[in-house]
Symmetry: C3
Subunit: 138 residues, 3 copies
């Protein structure tokens, strides 16, 4: 069985982290599928999906890591060509990745107690985003 | 068809890498499913799953990369708030990711000859870990 | 339903990025499966799979990020033992990951307009590569 659902949301950009765990749980629970996997996919090249313990200190630590390793304020060839100033957003997104697969059993996701699913929006402006959920199983 | 299995193990923490390829192969082989995918998922926010050629030099190189890019000995906001000293473990885990999907055909995983599946435990102490295997296919 | 397909290609190595979106679309379209997921998997430990907006500036930016964060010209233990000089290729590959899962509905992949699927070959020489596509759904 395959059930396709979408989560739409608005981000602030600038490495905004948005906890989508509740919505994913609700969609899996309502899907009619008991056991399987939910594949989350972000259509776009300046945002990504991961998991994190969603507490303010860590969100700040995660953002600081991106500033150190893929800094905003160095030259990017993409920005020379396209002038949108978000070359760093693309590079971060390719490194973190647009896809996450989470198993579930008895309609319950295999997440840890302090592990939340997040959209990470690396773009340099507010964005409307849509995450596809492909729920598969039996 | 969906078969759920679990692999339990003990890690030393501190970027311990544990080769779980044999256990994954055994579970896939015993699942009764011929072709499909196995989704590995680590419940927790201070460890992750990836693949590597499992030889001592590379394990050391991989650990050194983490020290350079997400160092242990810089201030983390998470540690101020929670005092467990493992802020770096969380950030590394979010970057590497808790999930890996490996296809198999005729009960054989699509791994390269020198490609092993590993748990990477970034926490700063020994931990008991459980990895969920969702085996799906026909 | 499960359909297994393979994409064979030749890379130049040295962080060569190859756009495989067209081939993946064709295989999904020809699979006879309407909705589900395609799991891409790279058998090997010196290459990886991700998505990127495939334009020359960004390819160069992505390659520059790897040179900064996992440099070629620092000592690797792997190279001492094996002498192939590609220790950095292995470390990059483990960080980016060998696997990508993309949902599709009505035979259409859930990609963004400027989001392409790429093989990233980190090895230090030209390579023949094979990517497994596990197409699952109904």
């Amino acid at each position: 069985m395959v059930v396709t659902r979408k989560i739409a949301l608005n981000s602030k950009g600038h490495c905004d982290l948005i906890d989508i765990t509740r919505q994913v749980k609700e969609e899996v629970s309502a899907s009619g599928i008991d056991s399987g996997t939910v594949t989350l996919f972000l259509a776009g090249s300046t945002a990504a999906i991961s998991t994190i313990e969603f507490e303010p200190g860590l969100l700040s630590d995660f953002q600081a890591m991106w500033e150190r390793n893929v800094p905003r304020n160095i030259p990017y060839q993409h920005d020379r060509a396209w002038g949108e100033g978000n070359g760093y957003s693309h590079v971060r997104s390719s490194l973190l990745g647009p896809s996450l697969v989470v198993p579930f059993t008895n309609k319950t996701l295999a997440l840890g107690t302090w592990q939340q699913i997040v959209l990470v929006d690396f773009d340099n402006r507010p964005r409307s985003r849509e995450i596809v959920l492909q729920i598969m199983g039996e």
